[in-house]
Symmetry: C2
Subunit: 482 residues, 2 copies
């Protein structure tokens, strides 16, 4: 009996094993597949962005998806904990790239390039908390455009902002706002507010959270966690509520405290130049919207409520988290409209582009510390995809996922050979053609396949056509035949 | 004194640290960057391949660069040791994709897709021994085209081979040979040669090495390492030297041993059908070359020496390493010509495409084991890049890395504002335009920039033009001006 029981239990164990799923069928956390339909939308967005980058004379490069771990070390400040490391399987220690900027700087230093304008479109990796419905993933595309080289001030910087403006206008995502600031203005501001030098970067990180947290919470982080004096925090609070255009820059250049600080003065002088160039580009004008009554202070809300608002704005609360910026910084956000499809609270709008000047990064890689000044922009397109997808869903547009021009079909049975010969001729002539992979498909099924996939033409071979030495061509939409 | 010495030593230590390079400046082993020029060549190759895939009606998908580790487990046989794992940083265990086929199967099972024709172009990762001069990398692109679904036999399989033929012809890489075999014929052959069932896969791996090792070495691996009987090995040796076309298939269908084996018979029957379809596609004909005298046995040598040779060949020595193939398998190799630029011994030609039928892979992912028959081809383009690069180097062709149509230049100083206004107008009109990022560039430098980068036109603003309200347009090549 014991023997029989053991045997039965073994059989049961085997059955149990076969019955259960072999493993969880999913993509890794924070990642996703792209279906053919999503790819069709993605390629449209890419195409608009690449067209813009090429319009501005950019070359293209590519780098490996992973870098030596030490290449990435010390470049991202507090965000470094989000880097994906590869397992040590013997050999070099590797990490997945966190952005395209550090690999670009490594590429420049390694190849001793001091002058280039390039774009790079590739996936980057961050072990962040994904929020996939809002387009925040652990694997996501960046579309970067950067200008490296020693040039006259603010001309390349202005071009980067022009590019953001062109792309966001072209994609018709609705209202947007490009916030601009300068690390030197921030650092000068911290200095005149009484922040100790050693706390510049960490206080900068706190300021960076102002787009997600109210000032009161940021202030208490500064004071309680980061041990900044409440007076210094309050002085910062006065500055970071400021935003505007050329008139604000002029005003701050007269500010009794800021104007005494060398860094801030330099930053403000360049900011003035930048806004003059942007005006020549015709993108500092205001856009009029008329939905609200009382003018709120926050620029996003002002757009939302329909006031006369700029698309580019000097904003002292913009900080950006990454350590490597040294000059101008900027970030573009979409500003939600009344008739939006996205269910999200007002104000929690997404950043869709960002960038700035990083004059010291290449020097960190050069054995002799030789610097190559750089400025660039990164379009974060996952959120743009999400919006475009929703737009397509909401519209009646039917997206084709193939480009097939003609289906090679047969009207009777036993014509597989004829179909194979004809389709081969079409392919060799460069015509996009498909056929059903069946020996004897029904004509109705073949026509239905065209309806389903949007193929506009059917080339029909039948006994009569073979006798006559012709092919019948049918327009699917109109049923016309020749 | 002791205090002073300590102070000096500390200073020295600090200086020493600053003097030495901060780290090794390189890409990880087996990887590389692509320069703008290399990218221009790469995009040409991609464009030819994508055009072909679209001509055959394929949709496109994308999947994450990493998968759950268990998704890849047990799919690659002896090659599994080459998979890159990510470090366990808490959360799921992940690995970089080893090919695009397993992620495709996972995608089908996960989305319950039973019918799709798709392509996927992306990087895959193998911790192999890199041979970068020969186009073998640890990070490399695969261009995959696969047809999934239950169809009549060999029609999709024949299309995959047609695609390989079209792409290799289109790229003009020189002579190629597509070897075709079937896993069922191999398994049947192993059975009739007396290989025990349990050793089919490992003996198959040995046969797979025949393109790199002579038969004697493969035989001794089978006998010494894998403990196959010498008689069985010799019987295999008789079969694997066979290659040919329809006539060989007919001959083997009459083979007294093979024809008794159910698997082999099925495989041979389908192989016959396949060659009939390939004949209808017009790609089983022979290509005549006349360089040599005596006809050698090896098909590669026959091509090399100029005999009347096929571009597609049924070859019993073709095994392919991957575990998941269940039916037709194939591999395309480039056959070196006399006037080659690559310095490599004859015979060590590279595989540039491969593929086959894998009817069981999707079922491995489905909780209920539901199968989706699949057949596909993967173009391994790194070697194609290498060859194309060498061809471009050898030719006089100058490759442009940008598409800029016009440079906005100034003839005198102090015209930056005018240039900014003009270039902005051009960009807004969709014209690809550049300018030098200098306040007062010399006209000669601006013209030189056009010569260097191939920009065909210069739009010149000068004081006279401003007065006249015109712009002077100059053709760089002819110096014509309007």
């Amino acid at each position: 009996i014991a023997k029989e029981v053991a045997k039965l239990l073994e059989m049961k164990a085997q059955l149990g094993d076969e019955g259960k799923p072999k493993f969880v069928l999913k993509t890794p956390k924070g990642t996703r597949d792209y279906s053919p339909k999503q790819m069709a939308i993605r390629e449209r967005v890419f195409s608009a962005i690449i067209t813009c980058f090429k319009r501005h004379g950019a070359e293209v490069i590519d780098t490996p998806v992973f870098e030596l771990k030490e290449t990435l070390t010390g470049k991202y400040g507090e965000d470094s904990k989000l880097i994906y490391d590869l397992k040590d399987q013997g050999g070099e220690l590797l990490s997945l790239r966190y952005d395209l900027t550090v690999p670009f700087a490594r590429y420049l230093a390694m190849n001793k390039i001091t002058n280039i304008k390039r774009y790079h479109i590739a996936k980057v990796y961050r072990r962040d908390n994904p929020a996939m419905t809002r387009g925040r993933y652990r694997e996501f595309y960046q579309c970067d455009f950067d200008i490296a080289g020693q040039f006259d001030p603010m001309i390349p910087d202005a071009e980067c902002l022009k590019i953001v403006h062109e792309i966001l206008s072209e994609l018709q995502l609705g209202d947007f706002l490009i916030k601009v600031n300068d690390r030197r203005i921030l650092d000068g501001m911290f200095a005149v507010c009484g922040v100790p030098d050693s706390k510049f970067r960490t206080i900068c990180s706190s300021v960076d959270k102002l787009d997600k947290m109210p000032w009161e919470d940021v202030r208490s982080e500064m004071v309680a966690e980061k041990e900044l004096s409440p007076e210094a925090a309050d002085r910062i609070g006065e500055y970071v509520r400021l935003h505007g255009g050329l008139e604000l820059i002029e005003q701050l250049l007269q500010d009794p405290k800021l104007s005494q600080n060398k860094l801030a003065k330099e930053g403000l002088g360049d900011m003035k130049l930048l806004f003059e160039y942007l005006t020549l580009f015709g993108i500092t004008g205001k856009v009029r919207r008329c939905w609200g009554q009382e003018e709120p202070r926050a620029p996003q809300l002002r757009v939302l409520m329909g006031f006369c608002v700029p698309q580019i704005c000097f904003d002292l609360s913009l900080a950006r988290g990454l350590d490597y910026y040294t000059g101008v910084i900027f970030e573009a956000v979409l500003v939600q409209q009344e008739n939006n499809h996205v269910e999200e609270p007002v104000g929690s709008v997404g950043s869709v582009a960002g960038g700035g000047r990083y004059d010291g990064l290449v020097g960190m890689f050069d054995p002799k510390g030789r610097k190559v000044p750089c400025v660039g922009v990164s379009i974060g397109i996952e959120r743009i995809f999400s919006i475009m997808e929703q737009k397509v869903e909401a519209s009646a547009e039917k997206i084709r996922t193939t480009e097939t021009q003609v289906l090679v079909a047969s009207a009777q049975k036993k014509l597989l050979e004829e179909r194979l010969k004809l389709i081969s001729e079409l392919w060799d002539a460069g015509i996009k053609a498909e056929m059903l992979y069946k020996k004897n498909p029904k004509l109705l099924n073949q026509l239905q396949y065209c309806e389903d996939t949007g193929i506009p033409l059917v080339a029909i071979v039948g006994e009569q056509e073979l006798k006559d030495g012709v092919v019948k061509l049918r327009v699917v939409a109109t049923r016309e035949e020749v």
